[in-house]
Amino acid sequence: SAVISQKPSRDICQRGTSLTIQCQVDSQVTMMFWYRQQPGQSLTLIATANQGSEATYESGFVIDKFPISRPNLTFSTLTVSNMSPEDSSIYLCSVSAGVGNIQYFGAGTRLSVL
């Protein structure tokens, strides 16, 4: 299994600013994932972050808006840039660890943009 610490747990931000979300894992993992989730809705994959390579973004998400860093095998950050109220959502970090392709999730960051 894997234990994931995600910070901050919530934040309220002003339009036009940026927020960086941190994801720390208690073990080395190859693949880390960033998701967005509207309350009561399903998860939408933003990007996959592998250590040592550029993140792979899903359709509808671009690096300029959601830059991701993956400096080592236990840590990643997601930045939400130039925020607008439409970016208000829950952002979740996830890792693939252990056998059977199980993904483990952080507790999420609830972002509100005013």
Binding site: M31, S42, T48, G100, I102, Q103, F105
Partner: protein, 114 residues
Amino acid sequence: AQTVTQSQPEMSVQEAETVTLSCTYDTSESNYYLFWYKQPPSRQMILVIRQEAYKQQNATENRFSVNFQKAAKSFSLKISDSQLGDTAMYFCAFWTGANSKLTFGKGITLSVRP
């Protein structure tokens, strides 16, 4: 493309009763994994149960069991002796090596009544 369908948006069950949550999926892959995740109001996504497609035996984890019908591409979750702590949103998810990503259903909100 892989798709996961959860057609029931919400269900309610009396405490101590049994409830079954439905999930169907579509894929052309022969080897894949299926998952049920639970997301309580605290937002933490928790793995409930996992099923490998090549295993005919249905997975079981304490009060949670699945009915995996590969030919019908059906993967339902049965919760026995429902408890108040089972109140959560439940997501069915699907993983293949073809894209190494989890595909989630829309989720179902389960309420356990005292």
